[in-house]
Amino acid sequence: MEKLLRILEENCPGIDVLGSDRLIDDEILTSLDVVVLVGELNDAFGVSITVDDLVPENFNSVQAMYDLICRLGGK
């Protein structure tokens, strides 16, 4: 979780990612943020996030992102 938080802090500066569980639905994270995050998360955790994983339920909160990475076998 610490690694994920560090990536979020580096790539989404100034965004209170822990303060919402509707990060996508409330447009706190934009599609451009998602593009950047997908690349960073794939590299950092050795996973392959596909188009089918790109749904708000997987990016609406830090916990949801963490769960996605775990499901995809992230290290």
Partner: protein
């Protein structure tokens, strides 16, 4: 004969009263409903403004279907609208308000946020819709609206730190719809998939081409662009066959490898603008959508969307630059060098535009208007305005216009025009910052802010900038300095910062 955009709505509502004119994820309006609502709003606004004409009305509503009757209602009242994104920071809203000082702001009950518009009357759309339409009044106003009357004012980034309001006439918008309809064979069968925010002029094409042709507008909500499968499913479900998107939106779908899994099955026209289209991205789209026609559009807000276009008619390597083509009919595009002489083939020059597409100017900003909307230096015998875009271009060997970049520090990011000076002004206004410089990292598509302060406080600075600037203008990278490097003239050494921090990081990666 159509003289103003309200007549376009009258015509389409007469031809297709029960057809859906516009829809979003939650609601839809038929042409008949849209016309009825626009007339109610127009009647109510004419009353609230005591019959005044040519006054600004803020439409502070999210990108929902309700915006359309608000826009057309404002036009029907003889006034012009200013589309305002309710999610902008308070300070930005206050700056726009200070420039326009509207008497009336229209919002909806969906937006509950308090607005920083002291002195303006805040009216809810729902309340305005209770007003019965006064047909004789609207007819009287309708014949008074000439093509030269302003229709809308859209704000763009300003280099001095204050956004500029570009005022556009009915005539320019009607001209645009005529050129697009003829050039691209648009008619009532088109279903436009709207991506651009309504305070961004790419959306002007979606709205007015829809209403002019009796087509349908499908508003695609922003979160859909973070969920490509759902976006494509929505487009298919609603039969979207035409898109006019910003290049950045197309880049996002390509970067997320969308088309390897899903493809929009009805899409036949793909038009794009807002920034230079990398051929690598275009090729990805073209490979997966072989039945679609692709068109590169060029033009800033000041020339009512676009002055030049290039229908992609040949293959390009990923590393090649895509032409921006040639001028639309009724439009003149030419390149001037530093001596205001026309450049020859292959020679760079500033892209200048003349024709019906020119905006009226910047609202309440005669100096800036005079600086860029100026007399055609090639025509001194009578007054003829041209718009100097500040973009550099050249004609290639095929006679196609190529975009070469900017003559100043304006950049394009996520489709938006950004004056780096505006970000620097906002950073310099933060109390603990003594000096700031903003540069654009084009390779990583990031805004980088270099700031001088006694101590490092990136979080504090980002928080302050988020209160002052729209989200897309908040830098992604911050670099703190006890003292920023200076060149021999004592100015911030931008070249050194670019070389030592941006280019070095790219090399390292």
């Amino acid at each position: 004969m159509v003289y103003n955009v309200t007549s376009c709505l009258d015509n389409s509502a007469g031809a297709y009263p029960d057809k859906i004119a516009a829809a979003d994820g939650q609601a839809a309006l038929t042409y008949g409903q849209l016309l009825d609502q626009a007339r109610r709003i127009g009647t109510a606004l004419a009353g609230r403004l005591d019959g005044a004409r040519g006054k600004p009305v803020f439409i502070c509503i999210g990108r929902w279907v309700e915006c359309l009757p608000a826009f057309f209602g404002t036009a029907a009242s003889g006034n012009f609208y200013v589309p305002i994104d309710p999610s902008l920071p308070d300070r930005r809203l206050a700056e726009i308000y200070a420039t326009m000082k509207p008497r009336v702001v229209v919002t909806t009950r969906r937006d509950t946020r308090p607005l920083p518009f002291p002195g303006a009357e805040i009216l809810s759309l729902e309340e305005l819709l209770l007003t019965p339409p006064d047909e004789p009044l609207l007819r009287r106003i309708g014949v008074e609206i000439t093509g030269e009357n302003p229709l809308y004012c859209i704000f763009t980034s300003g280099s001095t730190g204050v956004p500029k309001g570009v005022l556009v006439s009915h005539r320019s918008v009607l001209n645009m719809t005529e050129q697009f309809t003829e050039a691209f064979g648009l008619d009532h069968t088109a279903v436009f998939g709207n991506q651009a925010p309504f305070d961004f002029d790419v959306s002007v094409k979606d709205i007015y081409l829809t209403i002019r042709t009796g087509a349908r507008l499908e508003i695609l909500e922003k979160p859909l662009f973070s969920s490509p499968r759902r976006l494509i499913e929505r487009m298919d479900e609603r039969g979207v066959n035409t898109i006019i998107w910003s290049v950045s939106a197309m880049k996002i779908l390509s970067a997320l490898k969308t088309f390897e899994t899903v493809r929009p099955s009805h899409l036949r026209r793909v038009m794009f603008s807002g920034e230079a289209m990398p051929c690598k991205v275009l090729n990805d789209w073209m490979r997966h959508l072989p039945e679609a026609r692709f068109v590169n559009l060029y033009g800033p807000t000041e020339i009512t969307c676009n002055c030049a276009y290039y229908p992609v008619d040949r293959a390009f390597d990923d590393s090649e630059a895509l032409p921006i083509g040639g001028a639309f009919p009724n439009t003149q595009v030419f390149l001037l060098d530093g001596d205001r002489a026309v450049t020859g083939p292959g020679e760079p020059g500033e892209i200048c535009v003349a024709g019906t597409c020119l905006a009226l100017g910047y609202y309440n900003n005669p100096e800036r208007t005079a600086a860029v909307f100026c007399q055609n230096p090639l025509q001194t015998a009578w007054p003829e305005k041209i718009y100097r875009t500040g973009d550099l271009g050249s004609w290639n060997e095929r006679g196609e216009l190529m975009f070469l970049g900017r003559a100043d520090s304006q950049v394009k990011y996520m489709g938006f025009r950004i004056e780096l000076g505006e970000i620097e002004t906002a950073a310099n206004a933060v109390p603990f910052v003594s000096s700031a410089c903003c540069l654009f990292d084009a390779d990583r598509e990031q805004l980088c802010l270099f700031y001088q302060a006694e101590g490092q406080d990136d979080k504090g600075l980002i928080a302050a900038l988020r209160e002052a600037l729209p989200r897309f203008m908040v830098p992604a990278r911050l670099y703190w300095f006890e003292r920023l490097p200076e060149n021999r003239t004592g100015k911030i050494d931008r070249a050194a910062l670019r070389r030592d921090y941006i280019e070095q990081t790219i090399r390292r990666n």
